[in-house]
Structure formats: C-alpha cells, structure tokens
C-alpha cells in the first residue's frame, strides 16, 4: 500500500506543484473560491488512472505482493489528501476573514461543506466508471457526471442566494458523500480486479 502510494506520488510529481498553485490561487482571499477548486480533486485520480493505463501497470501489479485494491485505494487517498489541503487553505482564509470582518461566515462554511459533499459524491461515482470501462470508454461518461454535478451545484447556489443552506443540511450531505465513498472504493477495487483477471 505504502509503496503504491509512493509510486503514485512520484508519478504525478511534476504536476503536483500545479495542483498546489491552483489551490492557493483559488482558495486564498481574492481567489475564485475553495468550492470551485474542491471539484478539481477528481482530476488527480483521473490522471493517475490514465498514467497506470499508459504504463500498463496492471502487468507489473501481477508481479507484486499487492492487490489491485491497494492500487485503487491509493487513488482515493491521494484525492482525499488534495481535499484536505484545500480545506486547510480554505480554513485559513475563513479564519482570516473572520478576524478582519467579524460576522456571518456561515454561508462561506456551508458552501464549502456542500461543495465537499458534492466533490466526494462525484468521486464516488466517477472512479468506478473509469475502473469498469477504462479511460477511453469511461471518459465521456465522466464528462456527463461532471456536467450533472455542475448543474446540481448551479441549482444549489441559485437556491442559496435566496435562502442560505440550512447548517443542518451540510453534515447530512457530508455523511452521504462519505457513505458513497465507503461503497465506491471496494466497488472500484472489484471492478478493477475483474477487468485485470479476465
């Protein structure tokens, strides 16, 4: 597991600074917003899966005392890592705004919470699709999933401009996102193994 995580980190080492830059630019004060950049988390596993496909890593995997599940888990973990960094930057920004402009930060946090839940849900849906169909056939399906997510977000932000999202709704949404991921990871692993051993 550790080795495969390390391998994935090395594999995307050159794009890592770009991701960090994006987070800082968007999540920092004056940026486009942490909500937007959270969705970018999905790009990490998509990149890594296409790198694995190019490298024909499944060939090497059959030589290693590790299961496909570990390779799949590494993708999820790295995108969670990305989300964590984003949240940290967002939290710093939130704290800064709070100190400069004490008052209602609730909308800010609620927005981030809902975005996180949506990003998690998107990840939970997209990765099994990619592992089931492979990059080539899976990609159009993913674009569709992203469009749906964007539409949902748009609808939500349309709603929130009138009524701020009820704070009670956020934990519920996050719980759903977490649950979806808990189901998604083993599903992806199974789909990947099935494709590998065919």
């Amino acid at each position: 597991m550790k080795g495969l995580l390390l391998k994935d980190l090395y594999a995307m080492r050159r794009s890592l600074p770009v991701f960090l830059l994006l987070i800082v630019v968007f999540a920092a004060p004056g940026g486009g917003g942490a909500s937007f950049i959270l969705f970018y988390a999905i790009v990490i596993p998509i990149n890594l899966i296409s790198i694995d496909e190019r490298d024909r890593f499944d060939g090497l995997l059959m030589a290693l005392p590790a299961h496909g599940a570990a390779l799949v888990a590494s993708k999820y973990i790295l995108s969670y890592g990305y989300m964590c960094v984003t949240l940290l930057v967002a939290a710093a920004r939130g704290a800064l705004s709070q100190s400069l402009l004490p008052g209602a930060q609730q909308t800010y946090w609620a927005n981030i919470g809902v975005s996180l839940a949506l990003a998690l849900a998107m990840e939970a849906v997209i990765l099994p699709i990619l592992y089931r169909f492979g990059m080539e056939r899976g990609r159009p399906l993913c674009v569709l999933a992203i469009l749906v997510a964007a539409a949902l977000l748009g609808a939500l932000s349309g709603l929130t401009s009138e009524i701020p999202p009820a704070p009670a709704l956020v934990p519920a949404a996050l719980a759903v996102g977490a649950l979806l991921n808990a189901a998604s990871m083993p599903l992806s692993a199974r789909l990947y193994e099935r494709r590998m051993t065919a």
């Binding site: 597991m1 550790k2 080795g3 495969l4 995580l5 390390l6 391998k7 090395y10 594999a11 995307m12 080492r13 050159r14 790198i51 190019r54 490298d55 024909r56 890593f57 499944d58 060939g59 090497l60 995997l61 059959m62 030589a63 290693l64 005392p65 590790a66 299961h67 193994e193 590998m196 051993t197 065919a198």
Partner: protein
Amino acid sequence: MTEYAIEARGLEKRYGDFALQGVDLALPQGCVLGLVGENGAGKSTLIRMILGACRPDGGTVTTLGVPAGRSAAFARAREEIGVVLDDACLPQNLTAAQLGRAMAGVFARWDEKAYRAFLNRFGVPEGQRVSQLSRGTRMKLALAVAMSHGARLLVLDEATGGLDPIVREEMLDVFNDFTREETHSVLLSSHIVTDLEKICDYVVFLHEGRVLLSEEKDALDERYALLPLDEASLSRLASERPGAILRTLRAHGQLRALALRDKLPPDAPAERAGIEDIMLLLTKGEEWQ
C-alpha cells in the same frame, strides 16, 4: 520427493477462438525451464495463470507450493517471485531510484543494497526516468527489481526479446548464477530458442495452446536427430526402420527429416537437431508416409 516451484495440471483457458488446452507443466526446484513457442501459442496466458493474475477455466496451478490466485496466501507467495515481463511495464515517470523506494514499500524483504548493486552492475542510471531508458536498459531495470526482494523463483516472459546479444548474455549469466542456489528456480519464456538452449534444464514447447513437447533439454539431443538425406534414401531407411522418421520438411529446396535416434541404424548420417529444428519440423513438417 521432488519439490516443484511450479506445478500446473490440465490448465484450460478460452479467449474467443484461442484456447489453452490440457496444459501440464512442472518445474522442479533448482532448475531452469524454458517455455518455447511462437507468438500467440499461449505462453503469456500460461504465465499469467502461474502468477495468479488470470483464472483458469479448468485445471490447477500451484506456484511455490501455493495455489495461484487472488488469495492472501498467494499474495504472500509473490514476495518470493521475481517477475520480468515482455515490455517491463514499469512506471514511466519514475526514476530507478524512485522505483526502488516505491518497491521498498511493496516488498517486505526489499534489499536496497542489492538493488543498487544490480543497477550498478547493469549500468542502469539511477536518476533517469524510465521513459528515457532504452528497451534493453528497461529490461535490466526490471530484472534488478526482480532480483532484489529475496525471490526464490524468477519468471521471465520474453524478457530477452529484442535485446542485443551482449545484454542477453549478461541476463543469462544472472539466471545461471541465480540457480546456483538449490531452492532457486527460473521459468523463462522466449521465442528466441538459442537463449533457452544455453541455459535450460527442461524445455516445454507450447503450440496452438497445447504442450507439444515437454522434455529434459539434453534428452532432446539423445532422442531426436536430423537426417540430411534425399527422398530415395529416406524411403529406403523408412522401409528398413519403420517409425524412425517422424517428419519431413522441404525448405529452400532442401529436404530435412526429423528422426528418432534410437530407431536409426548406427551408420545413418544423423546430425544434431537443435530445439529450433525440432520445433520447426514438429509444427510445420509433414508426417512421413
């Protein structure tokens, strides 16, 4: 009792119109087995089954004493299997040094010192990314990985294909030294028969999904012979010694006959039949009428 590093019985696998049928293979510990066969004969499929990466439709395969498959027990067995595949399948963005660090997290008994020593011996640069290496160097890197985690069994699928003779010789040296240890075994698949001829104890010849021949390599020499005779002499010999001539093949205007050595008269002009000749005549030759 002989212990087997690999023991496969009656393996079956069907993919569309390709089928592996009733394949038996046994690699005794401490030996080198060459798996020969043209491209598409089913070598890679067989190797995938031996490595537990592909489930057979029928039959069983035991590798290092553990039934090959997706079990946790077999995942542990893989700690002791060093694998080098056709095109290495190494992560292109990583350098050899990074690959070593990643493998240290994968293999429980990763030996970084041994790995560095192999890189050094093979002349693989540590700091260059895999994508910048030549095919030969990539294969050497894959071999360095395979040799650096305490493997007892090396499995090499077409690992020497497309390499220059010097590199091939270097790799054969490594396999030869590896099997100085009595518990170390090698399975080597190739369609370059001369490599196998140099190093194998056993030869298994796969043709169209079936085992056509499975033999001790040196016994092949004693069993088969080539007869450089014309048709008339062959007919005479065939009527004198029924069953002596197995196959004949006319190529480049020359008639070649594969014969069973022990059925030939002592004065027959029997020549040594290499594995390549035997393969060619058994698959492409005509049966003697």
